[in-house]
């Protein structure tokens, strides 16, 4: 094993071995994501066929003199396929479809990603049945507030929780960390030690009484328990920001004080602008945490119109998800996509953030 800084470069044989390992690793780590994308773009019958198709395909054949998209049902005799007209639907309106037996040579196959899976999957997430979405049955006029709930509601809920949580995290932790890092007061160090000690407490210990607290506040069934606590600091972020604030020169604060700036003004106009890197790390990781959180929404959200994306996805999967793999994968892709985008735009902050959180532990 040669680490960075070893004088000579590894030989060709070793280099080949290293790239082979990396290539194999890339396959193992990257393939699942590609497989998710591929399934999300496939027609339903391809997700339920063996062997699995790696690319979404469409077959075309002449039925009753018309060129149609068909499904290949079975090879009835060598070189001949029984085909059925493929309408958008998965299982409905079966009797209206045209069927034929055609020579295999006349079937044309091409790669066709089905982007239409996405609007259907997102519609299904809200509880609208597939038949309604595909227009086989008239939209039912259901009663109750939940009938208007759909993907956009879940998306908006998740964004609200994330954005308000990020604002709260940055403001509260910076303020508190400033108090710990750059002010001297009696009891400060003891309180900070106590703060660090709370990092040891596993979440399950807090779960039951926290539920009681939120119930007492009348917050169960609302988004409040998911973002309001962010405005009251968290031990880890206080620690992270304190470490950063302590590296800023004391002279800065003294100069501001001599100019007659108040403590709050020094914090806001001198320290905060210099602390963008650590604020970005805290903001990013809180966003990620809030976007990915499942246990919180599961505990506190009771009605569908308050669900976050992750909870809606899980609830769809348990109620009708059974074998709708193409829809499940489409909805999963949509849930992962914002995180991927965030990574590509803030890759440096991510990597530095992980590195600092690790080495400070």
């Amino acid at each position: 094993m040669k680490a960075r800084g070893v004088a000579h470069r590894p030989g060709a044989g070793l280099r080949f071995f290293v790239y082979a390992c990396l290539g194999f690793g890339t396959l193992l780590f990257g393939f699942p994501l590609l497989w998710m994308l591929s399934t999300s773009l496939s027609p339903v019958e391809q997700t339920l066929s063996y062997p699995p198709r790696l690319l979404p395909l469409a077959h075309y054949a002449s039925v009753d003199g018309q060129r149609l998209e068909v499904t290949l049902d079975a090879e009835v005799r060598p070189g001949h396929w029984a085909v059925t007209e493929r309408s958008a639907g998965s299982k409905s309106a079966d009797k209206d479809r045209r069927r034929a037996i055609v020579p295999a040579a006349s079937v044309q196959t091409q790669i066709r990603p089905r982007w239409e899976n996405y609007p259907l999957a997102l519609g299904a997430l809200g509880g609208t049945s597939i038949d309604e979405l595909e227009g086989f049955v008239a939209p039912s006029t259901r009663l109750g507030a939940d009938s208007e709930v759909g993907f956009l509601t879940f998306f908006a809920n998740t964004v609200i929780v994330c954005v308000l949580g990020v604002i709260g995290t940055v403001l509260s932790n910076a303020l508190v960390a400033y108090g710990f890092a750059r002010l001297k007061w009696r009891g400060r160090d003891a309180f900070f030690a106590l703060t660090l000690a709370t990092l040891m407490i596993p979440y399950p210990v807090l779960m039951v009484p926290l539920f009681g607290v939120f119930q007492g506040l009348g917050w169960i069934g609302t988004l409040l328990p998911l973002w309001v606590p962010a405005f009251f600091g968290s031990a880890f972020n206080i620690f992270l920001m304190r470490q950063f604030f302590r590296t800023l020169p004391v002279e800065l604060s003294e100069a501001a004080r001599l100019d007659g700036a108040s403590e709050l003004r020094t914090f806001w106009q001198v320290i905060l602008p210099l602390s963008r890197p650590v604020l970005a790390v805290a903001a990013l990781f809180h966003f990620l945490h809030a976007w990915n959180d499942f246990l919180g929404p599961l505990l506190y959200l009771t009605r569908k119109h308050t669900f976050t994306l992750g909870l809606a996805l899980q609830s769809y999967q348990t109620t009708h998800g059974g074998v709708q793999w193409h829809f499940l994968m489409a909805a999963s892709t949509v849930t992962i996509l914002p995180v991927l985008l965030l990574f590509f735009f803030a890759q440096k902050t991510f990597i530095q953030g992980v590195a600092t959180t690790g080495s400070k532990g």
Binding site: P32, M200, V205, F232, T335
Partner: protein
């Protein structure tokens, strides 16, 4: 106290005020309340009734408690060491002078930041016994050995190994931490070792490993704590296996009834909040004991250098 001190204290308390509230309401009170509830018979509908050590006594004779603990320890015992080996190996590879480091790092890191609900759906599909892509790859291999691939999450014997494999997909985060640690190893150490004629294995064992031991210890602790509390993926997968399984039953055949799942269902489905609090404190003790053990074992082997 002088006026000056008094004024400083006021300023300090003013700045930390949000945390004083947050600490009291969202941490200190819940911890104390939870400890109290663990000695009570308590459903959220009625006032808690003090029953002394009753809950803890019940715990010892609770088969489901032991089952969920065994399942969880089984998972942790394999997923934590395998995770350390995988993430450290990847970090060592990425630390070599290679082209495309940023690309490989992104590929290995990305799966670890995706929402667990979505990645659990994905693995539920990959592990699908009938149409899953994993068994499509494995079937020819297994047939060559005259057997057939398992149903993974549908098979009580294979559900936990499947979850362990899935956990390895998320090692990217600790890989990045190792990578940062590896890049901090002083270059001079390798230079002098090269002069002494140390081979690659000796350099790894005598320089790399001691130098990154604090990082290794940190990742190990985080791994243990995380593995003992694993919840979301198990909840999603147990609820997704075989249609409409109740996610809290740990299907198939309670093989994925993990500690957090049992705790969650005791508290929020059976509404036995007192007993659930006792379960939570038992978990705390287990985590603390394992942390202590890891620290004890590691203490002499960790090298903190500047």
């Amino acid at each position: 106290m002088k006026t000056r001190d008094f004024w400083d204290l006021g300023k300090g308390l003013a700045f930390t005020a949000p945390w004083i509230i947050g600490f009291s309401v969202f941490l200190a009170y819940p911890v104390l309340a939870s400890l109290f509830y663990s000695f009570c018979d308590y459903s959220i509908l009625q006032r808690p009734v003090f029953i002394g050590l009753g809950n803890y006594q019940k715990l010892i004779f609770d088969d489901v408690f032991w089952l969920s603990l065994t399942n969880t320890l089984y998972y942790a015992l394999f997923s934590v060491p395998l995770g350390v080996v995988t993430s450290l190996s990847l970090a060592l590879l990425l630390n070599l002078p290679i082209r495309g480091r940023a690309f490989f790092r992104a590929v290995f890191y990305l799966p670890s930041i995706g929402p667990v609900v979505a990645s659990s759906m994905l693995w539920l599909w990959i592990f699908n016994g009938q149409f899953g892509v994993l068994n499509w790859v494995l079937r020819p291999v297994c047939e060559w050995f005259g057997t057939s691939p398992p149903a993974w999450l549908g098979d009580p014997a294979w559900a936990k190994p499947a979850l362990i494999l899935m956990s390895l997909w998320g090692v990217g985060n600790s890989m990045v931490i190792y990578l940062a640690g590896l890049q901090d190893v002083p270059k001079e150490l390798y230079d002098s070792a090269a002069i002494d004629g140390a081979n690659a294995w000796q350099r790894f064992w005598n320089i790399t490993l001691p130098s990154i031991s604090p990082v290794l210890y940190f990742n190990l602790l985080m791994g243990i704590i995380g593995a003992l509390q694993v919840f979301t993926q198990v909840f999603v997968i147990a609820g997704g296996v075989g249609g409409n399984a109740n996610p809290l039953e740990g299907s198939p055949s309670r093989s994925t009834l993990f500690y957090s799942i049992y705790l969650f269902s005791t508290a929020f489905y059976d509404l036995r909040m007192g007993y659930a609090s006792a379960l939570a404190w038992a978990l705390f003790v287990i985590v603390a004991a394992l942390t202590w053990l890891a620290t004890k074992l590691a203490a002499s082997r960790i090298h903190y250098s500047v």
